[in-house]
């Protein structure tokens, strides 16, 4: 199928130089319409990048970029724990970021696909709509509220402990909020609860675009419900899944900030802090403000994101899937 699509593409758009110019000229209205978008990207995405210069400076906002002293790679050396900042901390926050990101990615994707499949199988319209609405509403709650609720529910006298103790699963209440090793999973659970309905929407829409004939044909061939899900629904959303996966992998160093910042406490510090919190603590949150460090961290994250994105894209192309770039 891919090969066929490429053929038609080539037929539509010959890539010889003269032809390109002619095509552009022929589509000048379209080109004109894309100018605002181009300007937007230049202005808001590329223009601010000049601030990256501060990553190599002992940046002082009063003097600005031109006056601040260049200090080479010192900010990066500090960031990675080989300079003034305590060693090891960067490794810990890097590990936490990756771990929570991966948990979010795996749990989030699996749960939203599952929910989408379940909803897709429902035939009672009002029930399906209600469930969909109820599951995506938490997306609109502020993280502050979600975390406060979670803190109540997971406290040693909270509902979760009451429940598992009444079932006799544990004798002593579990100290969910103060146990470092549980923190990542707690973040995963809360994120899934908050986002599952929202992320499922895109899969549901992908499923609605699957040709019903395929289901009919499968039924005639004797496929049961599970077989239809396995052989029609899942292949039908594969390209959506791959595109979303590639995009999410690009965001792998964005494990979130609010939830860890709000729910973190001294007892779980070693597991709760992400790169963002680490940077906040040592840049603007510190008594001695160090903007250069924050910008160096931002640069580091962007570079890693680009590498991850292209790697994922490359792998996907090798596996002959639809790709983003």
């Amino acid at each position: 199928m891919n090969a066929a699509a490429q053929k038609t593409d080539k037929g539509l758009m010959p890539i010889s130089k003269k032809g390109l110019l002619r095509t552009l000229a022929g589509q000048w209205q379209l080109m004109l319409m894309s100018v605002p978008v181009l300007l937007y990207v230049l202005l808001f995405n590329y223009f601010p990048m000049r601030g990256w210069i501060a990553a190599f400076q002992d940046f002082n906002p009063r003097i600005g970029f031109s006056g601040s002293k260049f200090i080479g790679l010192k900010n990066f050396i500090d960031l990675f724990g080989f300079g003034e900042l305590p060693p090891d901390e960067f490794l810990i926050v890097f590990r936490n970021t990756l771990a929570m990101s991966l948990i979010n990615l795996v749990f989030g994707t699996v749960s939203s696909i599952l929910l989408a499949i379940l909803l897709n199988e429902l035939r009672i319209k009002w029930f399906k709509r209600t469930v969909q609405t109820v599951t995506y509403l938490p997306h609109f709650l502020s993280m502050v509220i979600v975390v406060s609720m979670a803190q109540n529910i997971f406290s040693t006298e909270g509902a979760v402990n009451d429940f598992i103790m009444s079932l006799g699963l544990v004798k002593e209440p579990v100290f969910w909020l103060g146990e470092g090793k549980l923190f990542w999973w707690l973040v995963g659970v809360i994120n899934v609860w908050k986002e599952v309905g929202w992320s499922a929407i895109i899969y549901i829409s992908a499923m609605t675009s699957i040709d019903p004939c395929l289901y009919e044909a499968a039924s005639i061939d004797g496929a049961g419900r599970f077989a239809r899900i396995l052989h029609v629904t899942l292949p039908g959303i594969k390209s959506t899944f791959v595109i979303l996966l590639i995009m999410n992998i690009g965001h792998l160093l964005e494990a979130g900030f609010d939830i860890q910042y709000l729910m973190g406490n001294p007892l779980v510090r070693d597991y709760s802090r992400t790169i963002d919190i680490y940077v906040l603590n040592y840049s603007v949150g510190a008594a001695k403000q160090n903007y250069g460090l924050a910008i160096a961290a931002g640069m580091f994250k962007s570079v890693v994101a680009i590498i991850l994105l292209f790697t994922a894209n490359f792998i996907a192309r090798r596996l002959n899937e639809n790709t983003l770039v």
């Binding site: 906002p61 009063r62 001294p266 510090r269």
Partner: protein, 564 residues
């Protein structure tokens, strides 16, 4: 051209001679930033109206929302400064960024006699040297420049707190040591596991959130007989040297206390209390709101804290009529068994000390420095201080035989947040220079500047429960539960010292405590010793770096006053 120049010069001279605040002076609006949360006054606030009439000045307030350091960082980045700039507890940041003007350019004995007289007695502590060795004063302290004898009706700062009902239940015992305190809590909770509604009591709460973690990390210095010096123990008295084993020939020997053997006893005690069910695990993950909610519910029997830190909870308890659930501040010290048999002298209440570098400064961006200083000068008059502190005669207070008095209702108003927004100028006055202590001259000589300190009001308006409670002890005021105010050592209070030069070490120093102390409190008692040793070893490099810096800073502060 020359004529024009002459005219302009003359005009300038005339303008500079005229008092800057003369009635009918050009109306101005001052922008104000307060480094702590607050509420906007109402449009028709009566005190601000008076200020507008008299000085032609209106205010535009911005109160802190969110994190102070982040906010100040942003303001510094954009040099976006208000006229009146209160940097709260992080004023060091804005001073170091050069955001404030030197007030000494405007304050001197001739032009501003009241302001000068106000700061003069403490000028050794207040006036600093800048990088070029010039005398500078950036901020006139908002509190702590008091006149007359020290007033101490209640404990406003750090102490071990205990619910009044616990003391009443035990028939009003004197609780002076750590063991007595925890024994009493334990006995009470055995006898009364829940309150009347069936909610279980928490024996001892420890707030660990963010900068309020002083509840967790500060108590040891007090148990060892020192006032609040932040995170260091400074030897001043002979006994201080004796109990720490330091060499008395080193003046103001400064050390971090948390990693010393004498700190171990406190956390071991907390570990014991934890396993006796007095401390709940949840206390270590509680945020400030949850802590205040817990105290306001009346189910927390005791804690180490500073009285102002849970003031809102105290008000809530009083409003709910739960007087027996409000707290008494106790000045606990270590039992002699923990310190080689020494009976430690308690030192909780201090003589008054200027709140150095806290309050309004005038920013370098302000065009109105002269007018602001002239206004403050005028406001330090008895007339204006009375308006700010007591209000308007006949409306907010009355006078009887030369005594300033308030009816119960009038006094209740002064604790009503909504009333104050319309009838007090707190947003401005709290951070401005003010008189405290006793009125030293004029018509009302011998009255207290603050209504809450006026003896008639303290006694007359105390509720019946408190009166009966105090008389059971034979005390006249709640401050009698702790030592009478002791004059501070020359270095002042070390928590005020700027530690930004060792910020990275200090942050790490605090982080290790935040993390390890709760672990120590909750660990298996059999493992406590090993864990303590590991903690001391882990924190040692940061503690040393911080202590070394503080030692020098303390000596420098002391030298300012002792005039070396």
């Amino acid at each position: 051209m020359k004529k024009l120049l002459c005219l302009m010069l003359m005009l300038a001279m005339v303008l500079s001679i005229a008092p800057a605040f003369a009635e009918g002076a050009e109306p101005i609006t001052l922008t104000v930033f307060r480094g702590d949360p607050g509420d906007q006054p109402t449009e028709d606030n009566k005190i601000y109206k008076l200020i507008e009439e008299k000085f032609g000045v209106t205010f535009k307030f911005e109160f802190l929302a969110g994190d102070l350091n982040e906010k100040l960082g942003l303001m510094i980045a954009g040099e976006d400064y208000p006229d009146l700039f209160d940097g709260g507890n992080s004023a060091d940041l804005i001073i170091n960024a050069g955001a404030l003007i030197n007030l000494l350019d405007y304050i001197n004995p001739d032009d501003t006699p009241r302001l000068w007289e106000h700061i003069e007695p403490q000028k050794a502590r207040l006036i600093e040297k800048d990088a070029n060795g010039n005398d500078v004063l950036y901020i006139i302290p908002n509190y702590g420049l008091a006149d007359g004898d020290q007033i101490a009706n209640s404990v406003g700062g750090p102490a071990f707190f205990i619910q009044k009902q616990v003391l009443a239940w035990a028939d009003y015992p004197e609780i002076k040591t750590l063991n007595e305190y925890f024994d009493l809590l334990e006995e009470f909770i055995l006898d009364n596991p829940t309150n009347a509604d069936g909610t279980p009591y928490t024996g001892f709460a420890i707030l660990c959130e963010d900068w309020r973690h002083f509840c967790l990390i500060n108590p040891v210095q007090h148990l060892m007989g020192r006032p609040n010096d932040g995170e260091v123990y400074i030897c001043v008295t002979e006994q201080n040297y004796e109990v720490t084993g330091n060499d008395p020939s080193e003046p103001f020997k400064t050390e971090t206390f948390i990693d010393k053997p004498y700190a171990k006893a406190y956390y071991e005690k907390l570990n014991e209390a934890f396993h006796n069910g007095l401390i709940s695990q949840d206390t270590f993950v509680m945020n400030y709101d949850q802590y205040i909610a817990a105290i306001s519910s009346g189910t927390v029997l005791g804690m180490f804290d500073q009285a102002w830190d849970f003031g809102t909870a105290t008000s809530a308890l009083i409003d709910a009529g739960m007087d027996e659930n409000t707290y008494v501040a106790l000045g606990l010290v270590y039992d002699p068994e923990y310190v080689n048999g020494v009976e430690i002298e308690e030192h909780y209440l201090n003589g008054s000390v200027p709140n150095v570098r806290r309050g309004f400064g005038i920013s370098v961006k302000s065009e109105y420095a002269e007018r602001i200083v002239a206004m403050w000068e005028e406001m330090l008059s008895n007339e204006w201080q009375l308006i700010f502190n007591w209000g308007i005669e006949g409306e907010d207070y009355y006078v009887e035989n030369g005594r300033l008095m308030m009816t119960a209702e009038q006094y209740a108003n002064t604790n009503d947040a909504n009333w104050k927004l319309a009838n007090k100028a707190e947003g401005f006055f709290q951070s401005s220079p003010k008189k405290q202590g006793w009125i030293m001259d004029g018509e009302f000589e011998g009255n207290a500047w603050e209504p809450g300190n006026q003896p008639e009001i303290v006694l007359g308006l105390m509720n019946e429960y408190d009166q009966a409670f105090l008389s059971a002890y034979g005390y006249s005021k709640f401050a009698d539960f702790v030592n009478p105010p002791i004059e501070l050592a020359p270095y002042g209070e070390a928590w005020q010292i700027d530690y930004t030069p060792v910020d990275v070490d200090h942050t790490k120093f605090l982080q290790i405590q935040d993390q390890r102390l709760p672990e120590l409190i909750t660990c298996d008692p059999a493992e406590f010793d090993a864990k303590w040793d590991a903690f001391v070893e882990e924190i040692a490099p940061y503690a040393t770096a911080f202590a070394d810096y503080m030692q020098e800073a303390v000596l420098a502060e002391a030298a300012k006053v002792l005039g070396e």
